[in-house]
């Protein structure tokens, strides 16, 4: 695998079909993370690259940070916008010195979103394009052994699993009446559409994914997680031993007819598990 490392501290970076090859625990302990991002069949058909991006890293106090962004298909540079939003947000969150309260964590995620927005705005200025050309959604998640906080603008979703309650939806896709209407972080009123949620209690695992998987992973239009979809995936992650082999298996799953017969969109899925007894 010819993946590249963006920053140290164990950030693995996904873009299109590339992922870094590392063995668990790959510096992420106590977390195991498996992720894949693939171009949808409709995009492959038209020769468009994958416009999703995902990244994750270990943050202060060994918290896990995950980001998933879905660049707008109608925007010329949506994929680049997604990538920039993810790297900006993850770098910021991973670089903090310590974690505060849950409220402080929410504020941190909002600050990371604002930085991602600023990065897109200056990128657009540098390139002399309208910032809408870099339009992207963004989901950020921060997990500790005590709680999980998530932030979302746009569609896709973040879910977690805990021992008592099973799989629970944290953030829900923000869609309008029409399936292709969503909110992008580049919109002027984006900060008015920010959803932040904190779940108290120890997670056993969770997932963050782009809208391509919505129809499979969520009961729509309610947006609640479809447990039979997540159960085997989360079990798979908690038993995974080789990060790159697990990423590859996940990619194979996302390309299988089971998935592709249901969706032609770009697909991004980042799964994580908290190693037991933490």
């Amino acid at each position: 695998m010819d993946g590249r490392r963006l920053i140290a501290r164990g950030l693995r970076w996904l873009r299109g079909d590339k992922a870094a090859s590392q063995q668990f625990p790959e510096g992420l302990a106590p977390w195991r993370v498996v992720g894949a991002s693939i171009a949808g069949s409709s995009h492959q058909n038209y020769g468009q690259p994958c416009q999703d991006a995902a990244g994750w890293a270990l943050g202060p106090d060994r918290c896990l940070i995950v980001a998933v962004a879905d660049g707008a298909g109608s925007a010329k540079l949506g994929g680049e916008g997604a990538q920039l939003a993810v790297s900006t947000a993850v770098n910021h969150l991973a670089g903090r010195r310590s974690l505060g309260s849950d409220d402080a964590s929410k504020k941190d995620l909002i600050a990371a979103l604002e930085l991602a927005r600023s990065a897109l705005i200056s990128e657009a200025e540098d390139r002399g394009v309208d910032v809408r050309e870099l339009a992207t959604t963004l989901i950020l998640l921060q997990a500790t052994p005590d709680s999980v906080t998530a932030l979302q603008v746009g569609d896709g979703s973040a879910v977690i699993e805990d021992r008592q309650n099973g799989v629970i939806g944290l953030t829900k896709p923000q869609i309008g009446e029409y399936i292709n209407e969503t909110t992008f972080i580049t919109a002027e009123d984006a900060m008015g559409h920010v959803e932040t949620v904190t779940h108290q209690g120890k997670p056993s695992g969770g997932a963050v994914f782009s809208d391509g998987l919505q129809l499979l992973a969520l009961k729509m239009p309610e947006g609640t997680p479809h447990t039979p979809f997540f159960d085997p995936l989360l079990r798979f992650v908690s038993y995974a031993t080789d990060a790159s082999a697990a990423d590859e298996e996940l990619r194979t799953f996302l390309r299988s007819p089971r998935v592709t017969s249901q969706t032609t969109d770009d697909l991004t899925l980042v799964l994580f598990a908290l190693d037991g007894d933490q």
């Binding site: 069949s41 409709s42 995009h43 058909n45 038209y46 707008a72 298909g73 109608s74 925007a75 809408r132 339009a135 869609i175 009446e177 029409y178 399936i179 292709n180 209407e181 969503t182 909110t183 992008f184 919109a187 129809l215 009961k219 729509m220 239009p221 249901q262 032609t264 969109d265």
Partner: protein, 225 residues
Amino acid sequence: MAEALRLEDAVEFAENPEPRCPCVLLLDTSGSMQGAPIEALNRGLQTFKDDLMRDPVAPKRVEVAIVTFDNDVNVVQDFITADRFEAPKLECQGMTHMAAGINTALDLVQARKDRYNQSGIPYYRPWVFMITDGRPQGEMPDFVDLAAQRIREEEATKRVVFFGVGVEGADIPILSEIVVRTPMRLRGLNFNELFVWLSRSMLAVSDSKVGEPVALQPPGWTVVD
């Protein structure tokens, strides 16, 4: 009140839960379309089907309905996915009951949305694509005004995207008063190109995110002034 869930819909949407991209073709079949125009239009409908079928996604996502208007308004084809759509052979007669046709098309769109909502099927903003070679005929002016007003309201509230296409002979100034978007004028009887464009545009929509406008290819089949 919501209607009861129809078994047929329940089965159809369970079998094919893809998000739907509905498109009504609202077609003028008045007497003046007789001969070459209607033949070209019928061939165009076949082209529409063929072009949609070439795409891997469209056959299960794009839904086509056909409403014709002449002395009567007929729902020749209620919404059906492109893979099951068969191009009809349309015939012409009589006057141009355009306003009644507009109302039927918009009613059909609303009814379809209700069914999607009942079954939890996500959908894209519906399109109505009206093609005429004339102007409203045989209808009271007030009735026509009301239909135009309805288009304005439904466009303003983003319930529908309503296109008007004028074939040669169409009264473009009148058409401009009825549809909100600038009417397009068909060059000659270039229905094939028109339907290829429409098919490609539906694909762009069915693979899109809005919030930002969908970039449509400029139509190559229109008259350029």
